[in-house]
Subunit: 337 residues, 2 copies
Amino acid sequence: MDTTRATLESVAARAGVSRQTVSNVLNSPHLVRPETTDRVRAAIDALGYRPSSAARQLRTGRSRVVGLRLEPVHDGINGAVLDRFLHALTESAQARGYRVMLFTAPDDEREIAQYRELLDTADLDAFVLTSTHRHDTRAAWLAEHDVPFVTFGRPWEQADDHPWVDVDGAAGTRAAVEHLRRLGHERIAYLGWPDGSDVGEDRAAGWASAMVEAGHDGALLRRLHARVPDGVAAGAQAVERVLADAAPTAVVCASDSLALGALTVARTRGSALAVVGFDDTPVAAAVGLTSVAQPLTEAAHRALDLLLDQLDGTGGARSREVLLAPHLVERASSRTP
Amino acid sequence: MDTTRATLESVAARAGVSRQTVSNVLNSPHLVRPETTDRVRAAIDALGYRPSSAARQLRTGRSRVVGLRLEPVHDGINGAVLDRFLHALTESAQARGYRVMLFTAPDDEREIAQYRELLDTADLDAFVLTSTHRHDTRAAWLAEHDVPFVTFGRPWEQADDHPWVDVDGAAGTRAAVEHLRRLGHERIAYLGWPDGSDVGEDRAAGWASAMVEAGHDGALLRRLHARVPDGVAAGAQAVERVLADAAPTAVVCASDSLALGALTVARTRGSALAVVGFDDTPVAAAVGLTSVAQPLTEAAHRALDLLLDQLDGTGGARSREVLLAPHLVERASSRTP
């Protein structure tokens, strides 16, 4: 392909459009009608024109690239949630003329070092942060350096004030309890994570408040609540203990991993224990596990809205804090036997 | 941050290093010792220096960005394989000073349209292609336009001659048969996909050749071989049919989805049927399914080797065709009962 002679002007002349239209096809393709885009592309091909993104970037000061940290694969079952968010974010960004660039970092400090390197060497426009947590130093660094960003995950401390999108975990476990109560269950246990996870406490709180409203007292709730590290084996062990100690007829879990452990115990025993998981992972669909589903496509779309508001100065009075409601996907594991 | 006054020279002077060292920290960080990098970064911070990647790119003609299509999420169980490849590719690229940029496309034609747009607007250096298939038009387009690329997946037609990395599927199913035969199984069935998938035919061939070597004739093999669309329910139905028709004591499957269906049938019946899956997905680990594991970290690393050979003109006599051996992860589903 000969890339030296063609210019923006010669492409415009051949396609019978203005220079601005050729520029739009290259820089803001979503603004141009498909037929026009096709004609301009044909001219670009015929002439072998190859614009430089570097030249464009010097001109516009915008790379139209958003950075996202790819989290390490811990538990393949629950990790699928962030991979699905990544898919949705990539599609939503592309439809709006943006791209997603990935990086990895093992902790906040090295994630910030990556921000720095990416801003230095790749001129990213913005970042999407996931897995917000207490003592999270990332948001403050980005704010201080005037870098647009949004978090998927709410800030867990008052001090943090930035745009975010999150899913209402408490509403999800509350919906699970209400579903089970409609099926006649009263002694509904909860398998959750150890202290120290804000996401975990949020999910536990939804179960606890629904149980209190149903008239159960704190002493019973404490016996029905197991705190265990996430994982299938941990879920199996925990449900054995809770079954022996508090005789629940149903269990709501903080994750599909814990729920899969509980379900395996129930099925092995031929027990009628109803089980509800969280995150509606592929495993849940595969084994017939009722689970709380996060609206990941909407979360990605709304996160991009909040980013583009900052990049384009649009948005105005739109709220910068978006809490989305999850919904329950009902399957065989919670049906009355 | 004041970004207007600092220059490469002032950063170099403050850090007590050469301009080239500052440039290396920014453009080839893997070449610089960590202590030196820290010193240069401190000077960059103190002076508020912010180099422009666009300016650098105009100078070097290299973006150090590699494009990868994110595949649509079809079956969450098997899709996890490409997500794990993506994680490994991102880490391996980052360690070598490259970044991964994502895009999506529903078919080859629109994937090629994305190559064009990415080359026009983001100056990517190279692409990594996944899911190679017959009548694949992508490789020819990239070769014709002199764009460096590598495929994860071998070319399935003679005409294609380009660097690739793949995993030997036939070796995987052969290892599964040999494992089952060591455990005393002889009538070993195979649940595979319908005609038309080269990956599927490769995996089926490994099972078939190992069975022929074990002395089984073609007539029996035909009865032991079920061809079904991928999925948990399809696997369950197919194994019911094969059990009724050919009475196998073990079954090797083309995917963990099919294997999970077979395993569910076996466990529900209290049957001693041994089951082996393919891809060692998180579901396999969760339910105790023996499965063939692809070496995805090595695949990503070798794919990058082949890309960097093209970008840097290194590699020399290194083979451009890399076929990696999978290995069997043994779990409860194939143990003698």
